[in-house]
């Protein structure tokens, strides 16, 4: 009997030891735990259809769809399609002779990009397909297939049949990994020109860099109207101006003054990254414009990209505890920048009036007149750099005020130079816009 007990006990020990070894080996061979989202469908590379990506990321997609209906205005911005020309008629004078004098409305949310670009009066028979560059999630695939020069060389109407979906997932994300990527070849080239490879950027840097896919200033190079980002000399306003002056870029000739004008286009990324307070503190565009929000127990980045002022408790309140105080501060900054912008516009209109007068006259010092035109061109570009950017200076208050200060100074210099060229002090008349458009007398 005793012999059997020993055998049974040893047997049990063997079985338990084998079981334990088996369990340990099983655990050892488990795949390492990783945070992951199980995809419902496989999204092909450069897939333009955002709805397909949305099956895997329903929260992000459904918040993105809200950009279609978010038409709210803030004091100075928002996404309400307000007419800049009607709100500030000085713009119609400053943009005279360019397409911006025909129609210049505030942009609506991302999902409206195609409808709005097709509706604007700025597009006509001569417009190139370049104007579709930032309007469609079809573009990354088209750029890969045909290349950007061929894309831009086509006419707007010829491209219309190929471009069917508004801005979407494929404009910023890599399918499969969902990594943030630069998809715009012009931005890739502009970064490369500065010796920057965005592929080495951190996630937080990419949360701003993907916005630079579109929210940057640009010009059309050559007869092929190739989209070009003027960053080779740097991304400060002076660097960009120097680059465009060296190339002799001209977007239009101002009627009556003969000045070769250049248009600044929403340099939001450049202005924000020019050592703004928030940028230096490590804040990315997405932190304020796409704040993390909750749905049940899950947190995700809202893709309803909009002005943070439309939901300040979500956007500013993540970091700032006293949101009302913050809103007061934003109001003060934007009012100051707006007033400085109007002062620059008044100076530019005085300059244009003086230049017209000098140009019409005979026996003018041509060298001095050309200097005056160059100053006018630089002044208007610098004013436009702040005026055409979103945020009414909030992206970088001190930089915006610095640029507007220089714009006003250059405009006044241009006016004096024009008067000097004509030898006529009457060209130094100021307050031209105000005298022609007196503010309405308040009714008692």
């Amino acid at each position: 009997m005793k012999r059997y007990t020993t055998i049974i006990l040893v047997g049990i020990i063997f079985v338990l030891a084998a079981l334990l070894s088996g369990v340990l080996l099983f655990l050892r061979n488990q795949p390492p735990q990783a945070r992951t989202i199980q995809p419902v469908v496989t999204v092909q590379a450069l897939e333009p259809n955002s709805a397909l990506w949305g099956l895997n990321y329903p929260n992000e997609y459904s918040s993105f769809l809200q950009t279609a209906g978010n038409h709210t205005a803030t004091t100075y911005g928002g996404s309400s399609q307000r007419s800049y020309l009607l709100e500030d008629p000085r713009l119609a004078i400053l943009y005279a002779g360019s397409a911006y004098a025909k129609d210049f409305n505030q942009a609506r949310g991302h999902a409206n990009s195609l409808i709005d670009v097709r509706a604007t009066a700025r597009v006509d028979a001569t417009t190139h397909a370049t104007c579709y560059s930032c309007k469609s999630s079809d573009n990354p695939a088209l750029w890969t297939q045909m290349g950007m020069p061929a894309f831009d060389a086509l006419s707007f109407s010829a491209m219309s049949s190929k471009v069917n979906t508004p801005i979407g997932c494929a404009n910023c994300h890599e399918a499969g990994t969902m990594r943030l990527i630069i998809t715009n070849p012009a931005v890739d080239a502009a970064l490369k020109a500065q010796g920057i490879d965005w592929r080495n950027a951190s996630r937080q840097e990419m949360r701003s860099l993907v916005c630079a896919n579109c929210h940057v200033t640009y010009f059309f190079a050559g007869a092929g109207k190739l989209l070009t980002i003027p960053w080779a000399d740097g991304t400060r306003v002076e660097d960009i101006l120097q680059y465009e002056n060296t190339l002799g870029v001209s977007d239009w000739t101002y009627p009556g003054t003969g000045t070769q004008m250049i248009k600044a286009r929403h340099p939001d990324y450049e202005l924000f990254t020019a050592d703004s307070t928030h940028f230096k503190a490590g804040v990315a565009c997405a932190d304020c414009h796409m704040p993390y929000v909750r749905d049940g127990a899950m947190k995700y980045s809202s893709h309803d990209v909009m002005s943070p002022l439309l939901d300040p408790y979500q956007s500013c309140g993540q970091c700032h505890t006293n949101v009302d105080d913050v809103l007061g501060r934003v109001g003060i900054i934007q009012n100051e920048v707006y007033n400085a912008k109007i002062a620059a516009e008044d100076a530019l209109i005085d300059t244009i009036t003086a230049l017209k007068g000098a140009t019409a006259r005979s026996g003018v010092d041509v060298a001095q007149l050309n200097q005056a035109r160059q100053l006018d061109r630089n002044a208007q570009f610098m004013w436009d750099y702040v005026s055409a950017a979103n945020s009414t200076g909030f992206h970088n208050p001190d930089e915006a005020l610095r640029i507007l200060r220089n714009a006003t100074d250059l405009a006044r210099q241009a006016q004096m130079k024009a008067a000097q060229a004509a030898g006529d002090p009457s060209l130094l008349t100021t307050g031209v816009y105000e005298s022609q458009n007196p503010p309405p007398t308040p009714t008692p």
Partner: protein, 161 residues
């Protein structure tokens, strides 16, 4: 008589050590009561502001400031961190504004995720690593609106009595 000197000496040494341990409440340093961390008054601001902030009901100092992967690393770091504090307090080399070190930042971040994993899981995933700390934005969750201010909670406008 001579033979008794050594044992007596050892006994006295042990007794003195016992009195030291008892008198200084040394075993408390093995526990996780935040009041123990505040034995040194340099921790007043950190303690006071934590006490009034959102996490006081849920997390103690060691819940956030010590690694929780396993008991070994927990007690090793507890010893290291504690001795570091002892040295800097005794030699008066601690900074005026006490801030978490880069090493502690990593530990705190891991502890944020340890409790809030379900909520933040979907924003942590991705081909690129999540390269920020939770408190870069959520600045007031741990030590309140006044952070590590040395003059806590005197603003009656913000904190009515």
């Amino acid at each position: 008589m001579k033979n008794l000197l050594l044992p007596a000496g050892i006994f006295l040494l042990i007794a003195a050590l016992g009195v030291f341990v008892w008198a200084t409440d040394a075993p408390a340093y093995l526990g996780h009561d935040p009041a123990t961390c505040n034995n040194c008054h340099v921790m007043d601001a950190a303690y006071e502001n934590w006490y009034h902030a959102a996490h006081a009901r849920y997390a103690t100092c060691s819940d956030c400031h010590l690694p929780h992967q396993n008991p070994v690393s927990y007690y090793l770091y507890k010893g290291y961190s504690g001795m570091r504090d002892v040295v800097s307090f005794t030699t008066r080399t601690y900074p005026v504004a006490i801030r978490a070190t880069a090493q502690t930042d990593g530990i705190i971040q891991a502890n944020c995720i340890r409790c809030h994993n379900d909520t933040v899981e979907s924003i942590l995933v991705g081909a690129q690593p999540f390269d920020r700390h939770c408190w870069d934005c959520h600045r007031s969750v741990a030590h309140g609106d006044r952070g590590l201010s040395l003059a806590p909670y005197q603003d009656v406008e913000v904190y009515p009595r």
